[in-house]
């Protein structure tokens, strides 16, 4: 195990022994490719933190704060069966427009990329399939780039002449992604994707964990259908039953996600879903355990 992961485990064992147990199980699950990828990532990430006069301890605190938020939201979800917010206006003022919250949230999510089993599995699904679209992708659009980790891999995998565009509603998110990715090929747009219309069509669009953040996920998918070239591919991920401080649209199960995708004019080329806890499907359904779903979509012709 690499030195950074070791350090993170030791700190979390002290600061949050309840979560430490899950973390140890997650790390025991990871495959051979994990160490190499995690090592490369944390070297880059620690350098990035240092450039912002921060340390890995800061990132660990962000991660634990994000987990504390999720615990509170999960409790509310267990009590009511609903997410605590249901409108964009609510979460915009509560989260996106608050740079302090956005910063710990983005760092927390970035850390989770290598500490949550399902995030790692999902990322492998993306990086495993993306090369097969490299020859046909001349333009790449990412909507809601978050911490920029998927974008950084797309920049590595796709042709160097590919045009890269990002649209995100959060200035904090764009700044973090821009610093982390550090590649002049990317054009960043601080804009709501519903207002984004530059008359261009994109060959590949990535929409990582965004649908649950909007009031009208079908409307967003229809918008992306319009932005996608005729033979283009949309990669998206979204969870079921995943309370968080900025989730407003609740998918109760995977079938609901598939249905909305089809109603927006897409067909599924490949899909995967991952349980976020190490439990049986029966227990997952009983306790409404989150499932992270991802698919590569093409337009219905």
């Amino acid at each position: 195990m690499n030195e950074h992961i070791n350090y993170i485990c030791e700190r979390i064992e002290v600061l949050n022994p309840v979560h430490s147990k899950k973390l140890k199980k997650n790390l025991a699950f990871f495959d051979d490719g994990y160490d190499e990828m995690a090592d490369a990532f944390f070297k880059k990430y620690v350098q990035f933190l240092q450039s912002k006069h921060k340390t890995l301890d800061y990132a660990i605190d962000c991660y634990l704060q994000m987990l504390a938020d999720i615990t509170c939201e999960t409790l509310e979800f267990m009590r009511t069966g609903k997410y605590s917010s249901s409108t964009f206006v609510e979460v915009n003022s509560r989260v996106y427009a608050d740079p302090q919250i956005m910063e710990y949230y983005m760092h927390g999510l970035l850390m989770s990329q290598f500490l949550f089993r399902h995030h790692y599995q999902m990322f492998n699904f993306f990086t495993g399939k993306l090369p097969q679209y490299a020859n046909t992708t001349k333009s790449y659009l990412e909507v809601g780039a978050g911490h920029g980790f998927y974008l950084s891999k797309a920049l590595e995998i796709l042709d160097e002449k590919t045009k890269f565009t990002v649209v995100d509603i959060s200035e904090t998110s764009l700044e973090l992604a821009g610093h982390f990715v550090n590649d002049a090929r990317v054009e960043y747009n601080l804009r709501d994707v519903f207002d984004f219309n530059n008359e261009e069509k994109y060959d590949f669009i990535t929409l990582g964990e965004v649908l649950e953040h909007v009031e009208d996920p079908k409307g967003l998918l229809l918008k992306l259908n319009d932005l996608l070239s005729d033979n283009g591919v949309l990669f998206f991920t979204t969870p079921t039953n995943a309370p968080a401080i900025d989730h407003i649209y609740l998918f109760n199960n995977v079938e609901e996600i598939r249905n909305i995708v089809k109603s927006a004019g897409f067909q599924i080329a490949a899909e995967m879903s991952f349980l976020t806890e190490d439990v049986s499907p029966e227990k997952a359904a009983k306790h409404k355990i989150a499932i992270l779903y991802a698919a590569f979509l093409t337009k219905i012709t």
Partner: protein, 80 residues
Amino acid sequence: MDKGEILAKVNAIFIDVLDDDGLVLTYETTARDVEDWDSLNHIQLVVAIEKQFNMRFTSREIQSWSNVGEMVNSISAKLN
């Protein structure tokens, strides 16, 4: 209800949620001492305790617990 009675009820909830008949909690018990007291079960435990005692905890209270005794103190403060 005194703290001893609260501890006994909390112990019964832990036995039920964690499915461990032999579990004996003390005020000093922490998550390190109970193998199945993980993040998923922690949520189930809090929900079951809230239901049993007909109360709700704040996020600050939940995050402040470092052992069973502190959990019992929170319950006791709300009951009395």
